[in-house]
């Protein structure tokens, strides 16, 4: 099992993602610099971490989505590579066109950092299988631009196809239909604003995130 974390200029949850992956797989992930043109060989799972890639200049995630490594990730995701983006990583996935919709400024216009209740709305996805019958989890959120937006046609499609994986209980940012995390049609690309990688340690942010990683890693 080999995993990778992509490092963009001013990614800042790269360490959080690496901490979580190492804790769960027992092996430190490859840290891949954004200027690389291809992923290292035999990578099974890629995480686009949170942070402020390129200082959120232009739009959150917009510049990072044009990085050389993202081109390679888009191509490999098309062939089935498992990819997750958390927070800024989710923004990059939408900017790169791997996931539909966009993340706008929070409805309250302020940065919000708090433990957040989420409902698991697709319990059979590759990222949630491990949760079993569990209905709810708490992941930390920490973002300024987490207000998920898509047109009604897209939202209807996402819901109909079971691609809305998590919804907020008590919407913190104005996201359409309380959407917190979605996946692509094939189910191998997943993005969410909350931080499951910050919920893998009882002393830190709780342990609700562990099963998310176990879910996807178990499918590989």
């Amino acid at each position: 099992m080999r995993t990778a974390v992509i490092v963009f200029p001013a990614s800042n949850c790269d360490r959080d993602a690496a901490f979580a992956l190492e804790k769960i797989t027992g092996i430190a992930p490859e840290m891949v610099w954004h200027r690389e043109t291809s992923l290292p060989k035999n990578i099974d799972f890629v995480v686009l971490p949170g942070g402020f890639s390129y200082g959120d200049y232009l739009r959150s995630g917009a510049i990072a989505a044009r990085s050389p490594i993202v081109k390679d990730i888009v191509e490999k995701a098309g062939k089935g590579l498992a990819v997750a983006g958390f927070c800024n990583g989710f923004q990059i996935l939408t900017e790169a066109g791997l996931l539909p919709g966009a993340l706008m400024r929070n409805k309250g216009l302020k940065y919000v950092c708090r433990p957040q209740k989420l409902r698991i709305t697709n319990k059979t996805s590759r990222f949630t299988k491990q949760y079993g019958a569990r209905e709810e989890v708490i992941f930390p959120i920490a973002h300024h631009d987490g207000n998920y937006f898509a047109d009604d046609t897209t939202l209807n499609m996402l819901e109909k196809e079971g691609r809305v994986v998590f919804k907020y209980t008590g919407n913190p940012n104005g996201s359409a239909r309380d959407i917190a995390g979605i996946c692509n049609r094939e189910g191998n690309v997943f993005g969410m604003m909350p931080h499951p990688e910050r919920a893998v340690d009882a002393l830190h942010g709780g342990t609700d995130g562990i099963d998310l990683f176990k879910s996807i890693l178990g499918t590989l």
Binding site: A10, N12, R15, F52, G55, K110, P140, A142, H195
Partner: protein, 748 residues
């Protein structure tokens, strides 16, 4: 500058540009006649404008500590665990296992009042650079904020701007903001205080210093380009010096956390090699103070070619470049032969980098610009001859000691408690700290979120943690600077103790009014002396700090506010505590004696609208005795929750514990002290602990054996907060009052 440079062309000889140094210009640079005489003497000639500017900033209050230096010299600055005390970019302490903690607190008061977002943001950026300059990865940010009274027309704008600025910078750089304190008082209406603290982690054997040792070594500039922002606004009226109005920029610097993040990563990557001889961030007085400090400490001269300085704007003069306070810039001396290594790393991180000079054996700071020497001054006097004033001071007259019997007892405890729990200083600051990323880096164990006494941040990959707190009680310092000075140090020591940490050292940020007034100087001296006494009693040295004077408007000074940042170590995370863990069936025990001190208390101010009286005295011997006992109880797992008993007294302390633990409490008064003095008295050296029934007797009997005052004051359970024959309020109602005050203010 067009005018003066054309003039200088005509009169250029060796030094250019030539500009007549008039008494007005000297005065505008904040230099006294005596100081100017010293400059003439050391140079043996008149300075040019560049040289005058350099002397002026190096001898400014901010850089030279001229009003406070002789008093700061009294502080305890050494100790078993001190690797580096004051005098470097930040203080360094040893926490074992080859780990060093590097930390400092600094003010950014004036800029934050003028432009709250950028002022606060660049305050955070500046303090982080002080820490990573020394080789540490920043792992935590804290802040201590003071605003004017809530209803003042500027307060809400300032609060929202400052908080957004702190969050905007720290969140982007990816360093958790884990705690702090926020007060509101009319004494800060015209001068808010924004004090930011950064804590970093380094390898004890790889701490970097600023001494530019060795001659002929290349000097690198890295980071943002230099612009005209932040030039010397306070001392230089640009119209006199430059009649081109376009150059009249706001003097507040603008921050770019993106560049800061890249700088951190690039510097730490370069520090992993052996390429760096010396490194210094460009903070206050920018290129001037960084180059002078490096040269002075290394005992060398420095020659800089200003044409090589990366510039954001066109036609910048040497004066502007030397005094610019553009942010996110570093200066470093690199080992010859390692230039390419350094360049490659900085280019990887897409940072501007340039080799702009060399160290020399002349002992002089020499600046070249467009083929001319524009400054040539000896380095030593800039540092050594900086004024060290002995300003006159008068001791603050003592306030009367108030007896509880002479203070009106509330006839409605429910109302009094509701008002206190929702008063500006005690109400929840959730609205503020929810805008800060508290969890990034995966090591925040406790933060503002629990309302705990100190934040806890784990040392990555280990089972130990640092505890961090910032404290000062300005109303005590105003009433009695000496006792207030003792109290602020003692409170940090107590707060670190509350989470189970061994307190190690402090940093401080001394915010005062105009030191030219003897009564203000008296406050400064009183606070320093009191702080120092506490530091010595606890063996708790000062390792870094900052002084911010002239915090006054129209002759109205701020209350004396010596903010203290304390750092301690939790050796094993199997043993720590917070105020969250009180459980049903627990007994509440108060450690430390209550006499019912109401002078300068929150009760007096919020309920009776009085701000008089002497503050509670601090018995440092008792503080140590009681604190060491509480720490021992935590490590013996005798307590479920601990909270420092301070602002608002026992009642507020217990309610904060109840709110954090989400369970009711019942208090009783086992003494003859009248209710208001018992519940609201602010006697020092006290801790409220919540223990299980089978621990009650051992905790009390051991305390008695050690001559420590310990008494049962209540129990835990239910969903009400009540006190015998006094009050009875639901926890949910108290929570609502506690939480709603700040959002209501900000949304009004």
């Amino acid at each position: 500058m067009a005018k003066s440079s054309s003039k200088s062309k005509a009169s250029q000889k060796k030094l250019a540009p030539k500009m007549k140094i008039t008494p007005e210009i000297i005065k505008e640079h904040g230099l006294s006649k005596d100081e100017y005489k010293i400059i003439l003497d050391r140079l043996g000639r008149e300075p040019n404008i560049n040289e005058l500017g350099i002397f002026s900033v190096m001898w400014s209050e901010h850089c030279s500590y001229k009003s406070s230096r002789r008093h700061l010299g009294k502080f305890l600055v050494t100790g078993e665990k001190v690797i580096q005390g004051p005098g470097e970019n930040a203080g360094v302490i040893d926490i074992g296992d080859n780990d060093a903690i590097i930390f400092k607190m600094e003010s950014h008061n004036h800029p934050s009042y003028i432009e709250p977002y950028q002022g606060a943001a660049t305050g955070v950026g500046g303090i982080m650079r002080d820490v990573f300059t020394m080789g540490a990865r920043p792992i935590a940010l804290m802040n201590a904020l003071r605003f004017g009274e809530p209803e003042h027309p500027k307060t809400r704008t300032l609060v929202s701007g400052v908080v957004a600025g702190i969050g905007g910078y720290g969140n982007c750089v990816g360093v958790p903001t884990v705690g702090g304190e926020t007060n509101f008082h009319k004494g800060y209406n015209g001068n808010i205080l924004v004090n930011a603290m950064c804590v970093g982690l380094a390898d004890k054997n790889k701490v970097f210093y600023s001494a530019a040792k060795g001659v002929g070594n290349p000097i690198f500039y890295v980071g943002s380009k230099t612009g005209r922002d932040g030039i010397h606004g306070a001392t230089m009226a640009s119209a006199e010096f430059d009649d081109d109005s376009e150059d009249k920029r706001p003097t507040v610097q603008v921050g770019d956390p993106f560049t800061e993040k890249l700088l951190i990563e690039a510097c730490l990557e370069l520090m992993d090699t052996d390429a760096i001889i010396a490194i210094q961030d460009m903070g206050a007085a920018g290129l001037t103070s960084s180059s002078v400090e490096m040269a002075d400490k290394g005992g060398v001269g420095i020659t800089l070619n200003l044409d090589k300085v990366p510039q954001r704007e066109t036609d910048m003069t040497p004066y502007e470049m030397m005094l610019s306070e553009s942010q996110e810039r570093m200066l470093m001396v690199i080992k010859p032969g390692k230039e390419k290594l350094a360049l490659d790393i900085f280019q990887k991180w897409e940072l501007d980098v340039a080799e702009i000079g060399v160290t020399t054996d002349t002992g002089r700071l020499t600046l070249k610009h467009k083929g001319k020497i524009v400054c040539d001054i000896p380095v030593a006097p800039l540092a050594d001859d900086a004024p060290n004033l002995d300003r006159p001071f008068v001791k603050t007259p003592p306030q009367d000691v108030l007896n509880a019997e002479d203070i009106i007892e509330t006839q409605d405890y429910n109302d009094a408690i509701k008002r206190m729990i929702s008063c500006p200083d005690i109400a929840s600051k959730r609205w503020i700290w929810e805008q800060y990323d508290r969890h990034v880096m995966s090591d925040t164990i406790d933060s503002s979120q629990s309302g705990g006494d100190a934040a806890i941040v784990r040392i990555h990959g280990s089972n130990k943690a640092v505890a961090i707190t910032t404290d000062v009680t300005p109303r005590y310092c105003l009433a009695d600077p000496y006792e207030g000075g003792k109290q602020c140090v003692a409170e940090t020591w107590r707060n670190l103790t509350c989470v189970g940490a061994d307190p190690i050292a402090i940093t401080d940020c001394l915010n005062f009014g105009n030191p030219e007034r003897p009564e203000i100087m008296g406050q400064l001296v009183g606070c320093i002396d009191g702080m120092n006494e506490a530091c010595r009693a606890f063996d708790y040295p000062v390792v870094s700090g900052n002084v911010s004077l002239y915090n006054e408007t129209n002759g109205q000074a701020i209350p004396p506010t010596p903010a203290v940042g304390g750092v301690g170590l939790i050796p094993d995370l199997a043993y720590f505590s917070s105020l969250e863990g009180a459980k049903k069936g627990d007994t509440l025990i108060l450690i430390g004696e209550t006499k019912g001190w109401l002078g300068a208390s929150i009760y007096l101010r919020e309920i009776l609208r009085r701000e008089d009286g002497a503050p509670p005295p601090v018995n440092l011997g008792l503080e140590k005795l009681n604190g060491n006992y509480v720490r021992r109880l935590i490590r013996n797992r005798r307590v479920n929750a601990v909270h420092d008993c301070s602002d608002g007294g026992l009642a507020v302390t217990a309610i904060e514990m109840a709110l954090a633990s989400n369970i009711g409490i019942h208090l009783k008064n086992p003494t003859h002290i009248s209710g208001h003095a018992w519940y609201f008295g602010e006697d020092q050296a006290r801790y409220l602990i919540s223990v299980e029934p089978n621990s009650v007797n051992p905790v009390i009997s051991t305390a008695q054996g050690l001559n420590i005052h310990a008494e049962i004051v209540g129990s835990v359970g239910g969903d009400m907060v009540s006190g015998d024959n006094a009050f009875d309020i639901s926890l949910s109602q108290l929570r609502k009052l506690h939480e709603d005050w700040l959002p209501n203010l900000m949304n009004s």
